[in-house]
Symmetry: C3
């Protein structure tokens, strides 16, 4: 299925994506989901996250502004999602920056089965054990053996692994995709990675139950491609980061399946 | 008093609106209040909410991202507001989506006297007992007897009740208003309902003390009309949700009393 | 060093600024830092703030939406910053509005050595003991002896003191600068003060270690001037607060050293 067809599927289903995300980008992530045609909900209370995750089409967890309460909320939502077959996307924002973030990422990934693990190249390098460098929440480099380590991790944990950056890598442990859409302005605004995590939730949220992992990977490839093509469109009318942010929501809203399919730069590596 | 005259009154008084709102929309709600000419303050600490509510012109409570701490903060702020005669607006975001939200809405409405209860048609249907459907935080329908149930609830609780949607219903238990301004783009951005809740605070915040409930209802009608006419203006220059959000703040800022009075579509039903 | 040269220094160093700020403006503050060329990180957990502050170039503390947890996070981050020689900027948002805010500002300033204290004229008046009026989070006036009181406070606490408003005052206890760039639209959006607090972090974050206090004051003067000149540029293309916000990020991003140096209105008073 081409990426544009996934976009149509998302718009038809209007999947409910339960986000537990950071306070920096909640508004942006919600607007990105609305713009693409999904239905975002943010809920954090331990008293309700299991109920909310159960009725969602996907759960998107982002550890940008972590606290012990948020970790617990993520674990409760994730366990509920696992129980009811709701896909889970996890974004280990800033892992490697502090010991606490490393512990949190370990706690979350050891108690929840993920469908997609997404981060920048530095974060994913650290998660999959190929090394990497994270300063604050910025990646400052990945090692050459990242793709191989991602594939190993994906196979061992039976999850899709996504490393985004100038180029984006996606793997289900078997196939590796290299995606080269996007625009430098995407890295001048906060929340573009976190918005993508939400979109990944929307796209894997419309995968038919009992599909093989490779179908989730294709949905992830489609989500990233849609987001990055929207970024390219937005850059055409933006003067800087502020107008780019507004134009990005406009572009997500108006994006068509044909536009995505024509612009898509997806390379299947093996 | 026409809606435009209420707008002038708000701009003259620059009412301080104490918001306890959700983390998705705090920025948007604050900017909407600034743009219309009010003064927003957000404060959540149990240690200060009673003090802040006491000096405010209105308190706007929104349970979008609820936690036990937030519920307590709302109750403390609301009790203080009730004690000092400060009007309270309550927005039961996502009621019906989880049992926890139902409990929270019950706890809040049973301990605080409201001046305005506002939600989408699904939320209000659940609050007033006419039924309704809420998925995540989206309303997916209201029953035909919503207006009658709203009037009953308004009379019993002596509060204005507002159900927003394609058309907006307002009642003080006696009169029912049907408002038909607005634009579909308002539902493509997060926080438009929550911003309106803040604006309702600003408008009821300038009602003279000891006014009858019907005066609060008129202030509510004016707030909704101003917001929706601004939405119509914004839609004329917007290309999609991103540019619409920016244009909406611009429109609120430049909105004139005459413009509102001319564009207003307000029908008094009985 | 001229303000434009400080801008170049910031862009070269891309300083990591650890923000503990309020939930209203986190997104805006992060985007302002990205736009100017710095690297923002937001981290609040008691378990990690000391680690994050230690690796940052500056720590920016803002008490906009205060809770006991946030106060503790600020103190832990501030103590770590003091220990490792990382500059600290503190913004006592809304001090004077409630007793709790006064207590919090006292607790924070008594346990952390600041490099820059920044607020609006009302907040700073209260902090430095010259009096002032704060309603909610808006300043409504400063006393005539504010500059003298600021200088006294700066000398006693060995910190730069900044009072922003229609004109901005900066002092290191010795010299007093009066800055008159800026635009009225800056006060129509929420978070412009808080964004400036973040930028102050970025600029003092590139001051060479063991520099005298006056160098920090010069960095502060540069940060304010860059921000306000960007505001002037943004106002030229904005129609209202919404488009101004977007244009402000664009302007920060495209701001050049020459542009700042030419537009700068900096008066050294004594």
């Amino acid at each position: 299925m081409k990426p544009g067809q996934w976009l149509i599927k998302v718009r038809d289903a209007r999947p409910l994506v339960h986000n537990i995300t950071n306070v920096v980008v909640t508004n942006v992530a919600a607007n990105a989901l609305l713009a693409i045609g999904a239905s975002p909900v943010m809920a954090y209370a331990h008293e309700e996250v299991a109920d909310m995750a159960k009725i969602a089409h996907a759960v998107a967890l982002n550890m940008g502004t972590l606290t012990p309460d948020v970790i617990t909320a993520m674990r409760l939502a994730g366990m509920s999602a696992n129980t009811y077959g709701v896909p889970v996307v996890f974004d280990p924002v800033g892992v490697g920056a502090t010991p606490y973030r490393n512990e949190a990422a370990f706690l979350i990934t050891s108690s929840i089965r993920l469908n997609v693990l997404r981060g920048n190249a530095g974060e994913i390098g650290l998660m999959v054990g190929s090394g990497g460098q994270v300063t604050g929440v910025d990646s400052s480099g990945a090692s050459a053996d990242l793709p191989a380590a991602m594939q190993m991790y994906a196979r061992q944990h039976r999850t899709v692994v996504v490393a985004t950056g100038e180029e984006d890598l996606v793997t289900d442990g078997d196939t590796l995709w290299r995606l080269t859409n996007g625009h430098p302005l995407l890295s001048t605004i906060t929340g573009s990675g976190c918005s993508l995590t939400g979109l990944l939730g929307a796209f894997v949220g419309v995968v038919d139950k009992d599909s093989p992992l490779t179908t989730y990977a294709q949905a992830a490839v489609a989500a990233i491609t849609c987001f990055n093509v929207a970024g390219e469109r937005a850059a055409q009318v933006a003067y800087g980061p502020g107008t780019f942010q507004a134009a990005l929501f406009d572009a997500l809203y108006h994006l068509t399946a044909d536009e995505v399919n024509e612009a898509a730069k997806i390379e299947q590596m093996d």
